[in-house]
């Protein structure tokens, strides 16, 4: 009798041990092989998503620790910016309505987006932080100071170099034109940079332009931000669906009747809700018949202000990041 019981107990113990060993083996195997499968396997969408998104974030250096240079070089994170010559006749400002409408767009699982449609585009202006070189301002602050009903964050900026105000958007990059005047530049008047600009009539100009170019085109508002434009003369410019990865975004577009669309996308909420790619932005704009469109600063800066509140959900503890420039819609 005793022997049988002892044998049963031993068998149970053995089965339990085997099972634990099995689980341990599975976990170790999967953990060790996952990086190889991810970076060198056949799952291209996911691979590009991870590499591009990390490259676009503040942690791009981590990739160079894990992956060889030759591998990373094969990923061109943003298509090279090309000179464009928009056909300005494709847009006629006929929507002069004071109406502004905002809607939320829900993608099935990758991001939440907010699209704002604005009539009478002449009222869109560039605002710059009044504490230039010391610290930036929140988009909502700049909007309220301009008595604006709506606003989005603007172009490139650099934070002050450490000290009291690091990470607060103190200084724009490239150049800033407001009310027809160059209020900031760290380049010469003939250097070409990717722009998001509005003429005095409210026509959107995108692509590589210098200050001189824009002044000759009667531009009154402009900021700069890296990359190629999204759409020019109705043609999408982004061919690589994963270019520049997935992240929160801010972008501007204009339809043929002059209506301006502000598009802001939330992201980095979880591993599956990383955000939108440039291709996603292009697709959304094309659904709305946008003729010209340009990408602005995303990441933590992506902010949409409308009627007194921030409508999207920036990943910032204080509700909004301080930035150097913003596009405001004046009353």
């Amino acid at each position: 009798m005793n022997n049988k019981r002892k044998k049963k107990k031993k068998k149970k113990k053995n089965i339990f041990k085997s099972f634990m060993l099995f689980i341990l083996y599975e976990i170790i195997f999967i953990l060790l092989t996952s990086p190889f499968v991810l970076f060198y396997g056949p799952f291209n969408n996911l691979k590009k998503a991870v590499v591009y998104s990390v490259q676009a974030s503040q942690h791009r250096y981590m990739l160079s620790w894990i992956l060889p240079k030759s591998y990373l070089d094969s990923f061109s994170s943003t298509a090279s910016a090309t000179t464009v010559d928009q056909d300005m006749s494709k847009v006629k400002i006929s929507n002069n309505s004071e109406d502004i409408s905002v809607a939320e767009l829900k993608d099935n699982n990758r991001f939440d987006a907010y699209i704002m449609k604005i009539g009478r585009p002449k009222r869109i202006k560039v605002a710059m932080t009044k504490y230039l070189n010391t610290r930036g301002q929140k988009t909502s602050e700049m909007a309220k100071e301009h008595n604006a009903v709506a606003a989005i964050n603007g172009g490139t900026f650099s934070d002050s170099t450490g000290g009291k105000y690091a990470a607060t958007g103190a200084t724009p990059g490239g150049f800033v034109i407001s009310d027809g005047k160059v209020i900031f530049k760290d380049v010469s008047e003939s250097d070409k940079l990717p722009v998001t600009a509005f003429t005095t009539n409210g026509k959107l100009i995108v692509g590589q332009h210098s200050i001189n170019d824009l002044m000759s085109k009667d531009v009154s508002e402009a900021v700069t931000f890296r990359g190629t434009p999204l759409i020019v003369d109705g043609k999408g410019q982004i061919t690589d669906q994963a270019a520049d990865g997935y992240s929160p975004r801010t972008a501007v577009g204009q339809t043929s009747d002059g209506t301006v669309l502000f598009l802001v996308v939330d992201g980095r909420k979880s591993l599956s809700k990383l955000g939108a790619s440039l291709y996603d932005l292009q697709q959304i704009f094309q659904n709305y018949g946008v003729v010209n469109a340009s990408n602005l600063d995303g990441g933590d800066s992506a902010t949409m202000y409308y009627e007194g509140k921030i409508r999207n959900s920036p990943n910032v503890w204080s509700g909004e990041r301080s930035v150097a420039t913003a596009f405001v819609v004046e009353q």
């Binding site: 083996y25 996952s34 939320e104 959304i284 509140k309 921030i310 959900s313 204080s318």
Partner: protein, 354 residues
């Protein structure tokens, strides 16, 4: 042999699981989607009247400046409610932590939260913010450590005795101690969430109310506080504010233009209020005499310098400059941007300023 066969099978199982997951994510999560469903955002012109009940026993009621939200505790649980419709949300502290402070960030619908927790290495105060619109609680990450901003305190019994938050400076001052007159230290948590002790504030028994201001745009913010032994208002690292006509000073407020409001105290009540910037000489400071002396705790000065007094007995709030009076029902709760909030028979009600 048997063992080898086992490992082969196990490897196959792992490979199948791994590849299935990768395949699923690759195909489902990163495929571009063509069209999107629009949900219009309609901005309702909110009726300014409150529609909200507050449960019995609710304590530490605080409202956001715009009056949109109210936070309170019931049975030790923190709640944040929407004053326009009465919807209530629970705000939970982190595991094994208790909430030490809630304070609405000026001019916003963000509630600053500080939580106290202890572990084997010590007792800490950790910083969070709760966005009432988005119903999201986030850690305040310090720029230097890239981890949650935290302060180590020396005693488990330490509390946050006073606080000063400013939308102008972005700095958050916390007076930590066991009682109003028992300060362990005052910390300044700057705009990058880096806590630092304000020089000269450690282990003091004579620091009363605190506030903050800036000398000018380029310089950082400074702590201003009451020296309860000398009955004078002092500034961190600088001379105290001398008002020759005032025997006993108390610190009332600081406005967005960096004007410091000091009360002249006679027989424990404020009879006159003096205000001006730190750089302005005392002789040039303005003053306003109160029609009837009031407790410092019954004087409210908002960010643009409007001074109100509350008479709890008569249920009246007075605007000291226009002399307009506002009658409220029930017990006084708070003066906010648009009016006076009070608790009347379990309901939060409001009287709007004209």
């Amino acid at each position: 042999m048997r063992k080898l066969r086992n490992y082969v099978v196990w490897t196959l199982i792992a490979a199948v699981i791994e590849f299935s997951v990768f395949y699923y994510v690759d195909n489902n999560n990163f495929k571009s989607v063509g069209s999107y469903k629009e949900t219009p955002i309609v901005v309702k012109k909110a009726s300014k009247k409150f529609k909200i009940s507050i449960p019995n026993g609710a304590a530490f009621m605080k409202m956001s400046d715009d009056g949109n939200y109210i936070s309170y505790y019931v049975d030790g649980n923190l709640k944040v409610a929407d004053t326009s419709n009465g919807n209530v949300d629970n705000v939970q502290p982190a595991n094994n932590a208790s909430i030490a402070l809630t304070s609405w960030a000026p001019g916003s619908d963000i509630l600053s939260i500080v939580e106290k927790s202890s572990d084997s290495s010590g007792t800490y105060m950790k910083m969070y913010s709760y966005n009432a619109d988005k119903k999201e609680k986030t850690e305040r990450i310090a720029n230097d450590t890239k981890k949650i901003a935290k302060i180590e305190v020396s005693r488990k019994s330490d509390k946050i005795v006073d606080v000063s938050e400013s939308s102008q400076t972005g700095s958050f001052y916390l007076k930590i101690g066991t009682a109003q007159n028992n300060t362990e230290a005052i910390y300044r948590v700057n705009i990058m969430n880096e806590p630092q002790i304000v020089d000269g504030t450690e282990w003091k028994t004579n620091i009363g109310k605190i506030n903050q201001f800036k000398l000018d745009e380029k310089s950082g913010d400074l702590l201003v506080y009451e020296d309860t032994n000398k009955n004078k208002v002092k500034v961190e690292g600088r001379n105290s504010i001398s008002l020759p006509d005032v025997e006993k000073q108390c610190l009332l407020s600081v406005d967005d233009d960096n004007n410091i409001y000091i009360g002249s105290v006679v027989d424990n009540k404020v009879t006159q209020i003096y205000y001006g910037t730190y750089q302005t000489s005392a002789s040039k400071w303005q003053s306003i005499k109160l029609d009837s002396p009031a407790d410092a705790s019954d004087i409210f000065i908002n960010n643009i310098g409007k001074i109100y007094t509350v008479d709890n007995l008569k249920g009246i709030v007075t605007d000291t400059s226009t002399k307009k009076t506002y009658k409220f029902n029930g017990t006084f709760v708070q003066i906010y941007d648009d009016g006076v909030a009070s608790l009347d028979d379990g309901k939060l009600v409001n009287i709007l300023f004209k």
